[in-house]
């Protein structure tokens, strides 16, 4: 009757955090323990990509270079994306964490968003404020 082992017993790595704003991913998987090879323990991999040439304000290329990068696990592990929950036959969208309204300071660009800035442009002695795209590929209308 015991039809077998769970299919995913082999190294299935799961994503806990995928934060595009601060460029952090945290994944976890079960690995054999070093002390006791028969036992499996949970290993967590944290991958942080620090953009060393980023500005303090990523939307303003004239702001100074950022020298301080702060990564807080509690903030990264907050699940603010709504998920679908099934209650009594109907599907609802629910947010899993509180305090999701606080604005996040981003260290790097989100590929799917368009970032623009205005800068003073001198043309024929006149200074105009022109809007320019910081991430041109993301700023197409289609």
């Amino acid at each position: 009757v015991l039809a077998g082992y769970p299919r995913n017993s082999e190294d299935e790595e799961y994503v806990l955090v995928n934060n595009k704003c601060q460029c952090v991913t945290v994944t976890s998987k079960f690995v054999p323990s070093k002390e006791n090879p028969g036992e499996e323990i949970l290993e967590r991999n944290i991958r942080i990509l620090v953009p060393l040439k980023a500005r303090e304000n990523i939307s303003d290329p004239l702001s100074p270079l950022r020298t301080t990068f702060v990564y807080r696990m509690t903030e990264l592990c907050k699940k603010c994306d709504p998920v679908e929950v099934e209650l009594g036959g109907e599907i609802y969208q629910a947010q899993q964490s509180t305090s999701c309204d606080e604005p996040e300071t981003c260290y790097t660009y989100n590929r799917d968003k368009c970032y623009t800035t205005t800068f003073p442009f001198r043309y024929h002695g006149e200074i105009k404020h022109v809007q320019a795209a910081l991430t041109p590929a993301s700023c197409y209308a289609d």
């Binding site: 299919r7 995913n8 197409y140």
Partner: protein, 661 residues
């Protein structure tokens, strides 16, 4: 037995809870996909096709082809117009954004060209790329690479393999390469891999040794190498490799993979068809191991088992078909497929799970009425449907026709909504035999169909009779002289007086029979089972008595124009539908089988449940760990966690965490 079942359940629990809460790593790895190995001939040429998710930014971004070296990946050619010196005229790159891929063509291959390359999108080294290994050999034969498939999450994959007519009778299979070997997906003996039951539809029919397989609801775990072949994998026969990659375009899923239906209520399925071809036949079927059993199609076919239960609506505006299935039972659980005759890519499947609950729309499901009488079909709705559109419609094979408020055909029929009582009533002033059938009460919002409730209206011939058990109510004044009698006169009556008389006599018997089914809410078949034999016995007695009385009257030679004799004929028993209703109930009981496996699959149980396995324990501790580890990280100083780069878990903090368990 239950213990074993419980252990079986536990074995699946950890995997289930983990996979439903978190995405696998495949979801966030690079979605640029291409061949793993490319083979070229000396002085020959090779074309590499690389796929990417067709988001706006990807379509407009730079595409590149670079060669890996010690210092990174140096660009050879890119869509910005750059070609590296030494490759001028030899290499070209072309982007096909509508086809979701770009292609690199390298000609004049030399041995120096062997090596590892990357095809990618954006900026070199940022991770949105795919490694390709180029092999240059003298030849003359070059091995064939795997066939590439790039499928969207939750969509459908169609693979077809052919090996020639020699392999027409040999066992065929499709399996997925895992670390432990090649796991079966489906084979020509109709054996399905456990993860693929319900979402795989093979078609092995064909004399040319070719077959095709359709897999729906492609998930992250479905990415990988597959092998389709004839024979046995690794032992005999021929095989072909398939490389499948699942990508996600936007966060919005294509279609819900699982729909929950409340028992007794209804569900709505949506079938999407990209460019809708009006000419093709579209149908909806239930998955079975030996095929897909057709339930309804857009040409008017409805499976007899589903009469009155299912309807199909076409929405040409957004290229979808809507299917409504009501009167849900436990046996309705399973996988349902939306199919087209051509265009295998348009096929999709949904799993239906039946749960217990209270249906929203309530009312009498079986209504019986006499011809010519006034009938009200009521349907009560709860407050949640207060702002919705409510409607009544008459069901037939091609759909459910809305009953408009003023129907010239039936004077006096109207649909009213009594706002105080939250009921919708469909009234018939004088119901006719043609009104018999299924009627649906439903709600609709913004053009989307919601819940429905089905009512069966039974119209019996005869004058308006009282519903009492008064069997001897023979002297019945006729109210409608024009009601046709569908009962043939019994054979033992000579010189048939007037068929009219027979119809009036029918009324008496009918009222008796009708009263039995006057309370359909006492539905349970047990009650009907007990009542029907009793009713049959009573009717036989009444028939005998009435025939006896009639014969007496006949002999006394009464000529009456105004007097009415009821006569009971044997044909009454044939046309009484109550028996067929109860028979259906009997059949229903014996056919009800539990779908194996559904009951064991737990809906995402919280890992905090009392699971015995160590793994479950660990993953439940994970949340506690996270809070503690956050504490540790911040307290041990930023310096440790600063310029990390691509570091795996450092040895410091994790051992701290472990020590605390």
């Amino acid at each position: 037995m239950t213990l074993l079942a419980f252990v079986f359940l536990l074995a699946f629990l950890p995997a289930e809870s983990a996979s439903s809460r978190y995405l696998p790593k495949a979801a966030i790895s690079s979605h640029v996909f291409g061949p793993r190995q490319v083979y070229g001939l000396l002085k020959g040429s090779v074309t590499v096709k690389c796929f990417y998710p067709p988001t706006s930014v990807n379509r407009h971004d730079r595409k590149y082809w670079c060669k890996e070296s010690a210092t990174g990946c140096t660009t050879i050619v890119s869509t910005n117009g750059f070609t590296a010196p030494g490759y001028q005229g030899r290499v070209s790159i072309t982007d096909y954004p509508l086809a979701k891929n770009f292609q690199i063509n390298m000609t004049g291959l030399t041995e120096a060209d062997e090596g590892t390359y990357q095809c990618g999108v954006g900026i070199n080294g940022r991770g949105l790329s795919h490694k390709v290994s180029l092999d240059v050999s003298e030849g003359p034969h070059v091995p064939e690479g795997a066939e590439l498939f790039y499928v969207k999450l939750h969509s459908t994959l169609t693979v077809s393999c052919s090996f020639g007519p020699d392999y027409a009778d040999i066992r065929k299979y499709l399996c997925k390469m895992e670390k432990s070997g090649c796991r079966n997906v489906v084979n020509s003996y109709h054996q399905f891999g456990e993860d693929y039951v319900g979402r795989v539809l093979p078609s092995f029919v064909g004399t040319s040794g070719s077959f095709s397989i359709v897999i729906t609801q492609m998930g992250w775990e479905d990415s990988g190498l597959y092998v389709c072949g004839a024979g046995t994998y690794g032992e005999s026969g021929e095989s072909k490799e398939l490389d499948v990659h699942v990508y996600e375009e936007t966060k919005v899923p294509q279609g819900k993979p699982t729909i929950f239906g409340v028992k007794g209520s209804s569900v709505t399925f949506e079938c999407r068809y990209e460019p809708l071809r009006r000419s093709s036949v579209k149908y909806w079927c239930k998955w079975r191991e030996n095929g897909c059993a057709k339930i309804i199609d857009n040409s008017g076919f409805v499976s007899p088992l589903y009469e009155g239960r299912v309807a199909m609506y076409n929405n040409p505006l957004n290229n979808t078909y809507t299917i409504i299935l009501n009167q849900l039972k436990n046996t309705d659980s399973g996988y349902y497929w939306c199919m087209t005759e051509e265009e295998k890519e348009q096929q999709s499947s949904t799993e239906l799970k039946i749960i217990d609950g209270q249906p929203g729309l309530e009312g009498r499901k079986e209504v019986e009425a006499q011809v010519g009488s006034r009938v009200d079909l009521t349907c009560s709705y709860p407050c949640k449907y207060y702002s919705y559109q409510k409607y009544w419609c008459k069901w037939n094979n091609t759909g459910c026709i809305l009953m408009p408020s003023s129907d010239q055909r039936q004077p006096g029929t109207d649909v009213t909504c009594d706002t105080d009582n939250k009921t919708v009533i469909l009234s018939f002033d004088s119901v006719a035999k043609t009104d018999q059938g299924w009627y649906w009460c439903g709600v609709k919002r913004n053009g989307l169909f919601g819940e429905t409730m089905a009512v069966h209206l039974e119209v019996t011939g005869g004058s308006g009779a009282s519903r009492s058990l008064d069997l001897l109510d023979i002297a019945e004044p006729p109210s409608h002289a024009d009601t046709p009698s569908h009962v043939e006169p019994p054979s033992h009556v000579e010189g048939g007086f007037i068929p009219k008389e027979k119809s009036y006599s029918d009324a008496g018997v009918r009222s008796a029979a009708a009263s039995e089914s006057s309370d359909p809410s006492h539905g349970p078949s047990k009650l009907v089972l007990i009542l029907s034999p009793i009713g049959a016995v009573l009717l036989v007695l009444v028939a005998a008595f009435a025939v006896f009385k009639y014969r007496q009257m006949k002999r006394s030679d009464l000529v009456s124009v105004g007097s009415y004799r009821t006569n009971i004929s044997m044909s009454d028993f044939e046309s009484v539908k109550e028996y067929s209703a109860s028979n259906n109930a009997c059949v229903q009981e014996s056919q009800e089988t539990q779908m194996g496996g559904d009951e064991f699959v737990a809906t995402a149980a919280p890992p905090e449940s009392a699971a015995e396995t160590k793994k479950a324990k660990r993953s439940s501790k994970e949340d506690a760990d996270l809070a503690y580890s956050a504490f540790l990280l911040t307290s041990s100083g930023i310096a440790q966690g600063g310029p990390g780069g691509d570091s795996a878990a450092p040895d410091g903090p994790p051992s701290n965490w472990e020590g605390q368990i």
